[in-house]
């Protein structure tokens, strides 16, 4: 049996060994993240069948669970860990030839630390540990947004840092209050005793925690940092931030609301917030003329859809929400990677400068088209299945309010289709200027883009490859007693 703590330990060890490899030769350091994340991906794939049978709880330090820091590797954790290491692996291949500006070894160290933070968040079973991993993720992403040290990047990183660290402080306040009530930091232990505390205090604590995670997840009133940070970062980092980092915020919200607090009464409010985020994100995206800002606002919209589906709170709703996490991560990583290289070739971020690229960069443009069609939700791509299951889940609830919600969500999808079709049309059917010297992307760029495009189609045609894992994950979120039982024993 492979120990799941390797999933966190290996990238961490590789991250800090990068300068040592740099002593041997400057050339090998950029391949270290690929090796580290490939091993991670293989380990997480190997763990999936075991975890579907029986979740693994790793206790660190030889103490039994309520007293030690522990990792709880359930279906949800391994699903997100596989997604994170898979997308991280593909993006690190992309970065080999995309990141040329010195100091590259610092880029690779920070990139691996970001991965450590993200995987740690989804695997840990200790709420303070969650905060620490959250800070690892946040600090490395602040630094990576400012990686080019240009005017836009530093300004965006400053905004992200100020809002992000207020959010982290809020999470820490929430952790402190929880420790004050229950005297324990173990999430399962807190969850099993949650009914013994005063509901008003719990509400205040939950508000702090949701605000803190909501800033990272860019839920509507807290999303001001996202378009700046995602559009000013290097494109490989935009792909990671949009594909993975904001999903950890969603994971945080889901874990707090479902597993720890069992707060069924605020789920309707969460669905409403998600809907608001969806509308605002898509409407802002519609009027952008900078391709990366457009994709960033579209991420806000998709996060809104995910949060909305989480708020439905039936097993199908949570399943659809997790499916949407997977399909959005694949599609948005693909879009940012493809758009990043188009921008690199064209030298401008405006949408008008991409006109006519479909003939000059056929493969990249085709992949971009697949990604945008998947986000809109056209068959046979992954986005179709996830959006269909969200709509179906909302219809099944049989409450008029959810029917109204899903109508608004579908209107937002039409807005989304509007701007993505516009870009795809410009790519193929408009004559561009000064395109003579532009050539197709090179191998290291095309491999991850092609793999992502193929994955989107494969999951769209055969969703049963991942539905088993997704259903088990949805069960983990909805059945708290099961989660508590894995960690504390009994039941």
């Amino acid at each position: 049996m492979v120990n799941p703590s390797l999933l966190i330990g290996l990238p961490l060890a590789f991250a800090f060994s990068i300068p040592l490899f740099g002593l041997i030769s400057k050339k090998i350091e950029k391949y270290i993240p690929i090796i580290a994340l490939f091993i991670n991906m293989v380990i997480s794939f190997m763990l999936i069948p075991q975890i579907l049978k029986k979740p693994i709880v790793v206790s660190i330090g030889g103490w039994s669970p309520p007293f030690c820091i522990n990792l709880v590797v359930g279906p949800l954790g391994i699903l997100l860990a596989t997604l994170i290491s898979g997308i991280g692996f593909l993006v690190s291949i992309y970065a080999v030839s995309y990141i040329k500006e010195e100091p590259t070894e610092k880029y690779h160290i920070l990139f691996l630390l970001l991965m450590v933070g993200a995987i740690g968040i989804v695997l840990t079973g200790d709420i303070f540990n969650l905060f620490v991993f959250f800070e690892i993720l946040c600090i490395s992403s602040y630094a990576l947004v400012a990686y080019y040290k240009d005017k836009e990047g530093t300004e965006a990183a400053m905004k992200y840092l100020i809002q992000g660290s207020v959010g982290s402080s809020f999470i820490l306040i929430g952790v402190a209050l929880l420790y004050g009530f229950f005297g324990t930091l173990n999430m399962a232990d807190i969850a099993s005793r949650i009914t013994s505390a005063n509901p008003t205090y719990l509400f205040i604590t939950l508000a702090f925690l949701i605000t803190g995670f909501g800033i990272e997840a860019a839920i509507f009133p807290l999303n001001a940092w996202l378009p700046d940070a995602h559009s000013s970062a290097p494109s490989s980092i935009s792909a990671i931030l949009s594909g993975i980092a904001i999903k950890t915020g969603v994971y945080g919200v889901a874990r707090m609301v479902y597993t720890i607090f069992n707060a069924n009464s605020i789920l309707l409010f969460i669905a409403f917030l998600g809907l608001l985020t969806l509308l605002i994100g898509e409407m802002c995206a519609f009027r952008q003329d900078d391709i990366k800002r457009l994709l960033a606002y579209s991420s806000i919209g998709q996060i809104g859809l995910i949060i909305f589906a989480l708020g439905i709170a039936t097993s199908l709703g949570v399943f659809a929400s997790l499916f949407q996490i997977v399909s959005h991560a694949l599609a948005k990583a693909l879009l940012f990677l493809a758009a990043g290289y188009m921008i690199y070739r064209v030298g401008s971020k405006s949408i008008a400068s991409l006109n006519g690229l479909g003939k000059k960069m056929p493969l990249t443009s085709f992949a971009f088209t697949i990604g945008s069609f998947s986000l809109i939700g056209l068959p046979p791509f992954a986005g179709f299945v996830s959006k269909l299951s969200i709509v179906y889940a909302a219809m099944q609830v049989k409450k008029p309010v959810f029917l109204a919600f899903i109508a608004i969500a579908l209107i937002a999808t039409i807005i989304e289709a509007g701007y993505f079709f516009k870009i795809v049309q410009n790519l193929y059917f408009k004559e561009g200027k000064n395109l003579d010297k532009i050539t197709e992307s090179s191998g290291y760029i095309l491999i991850p883009i092609a793999i992502l495009a193929i994955l989107i189609i494969v999951i769209g045609v055969h969703p049963q490859f991942i539905t088993g894992l997704l259903k088990a994950s949805a069960r983990e979120l909805l059945e708290r007693a099961g989660y508590i039982g894995w960690v504390l024993g009994g039941t």
Partner: protein, 119 residues
Amino acid sequence: MSLIYNWMYYIASGGLILIGMYIILVKTNLIKIIIGLNFIDTGVNILLVCIGYVKGRTAPIFSTSRINPTNVVDPVPQALVLTAIVIGVAVLALALSIAIKVYEHNKTLNVTKIRGLKW
């Protein structure tokens, strides 16, 4: 008076957090905003320490045999605060170094005048 006496540390931590929020929301100088972030950090750290504090007990260092678990304060929040302080220092250092870069590009620290990125 007894209210203030009993809840002194909580009031102090809440006050620091609120002062920090006020600075971040109102001040326009970037350095002052970063100081505000640090205020919030310090407030949260005091909150953590006072959650584990029990009046009249001593530090949980078992160097002398007279100290037993019934007359020491809770050591866990102190361990948490150490971690939180380290994280706070890292964020502060990163924030100040990014602020230097922002100043180099914009020649100002006034956030109302730094408008490279708009809505």
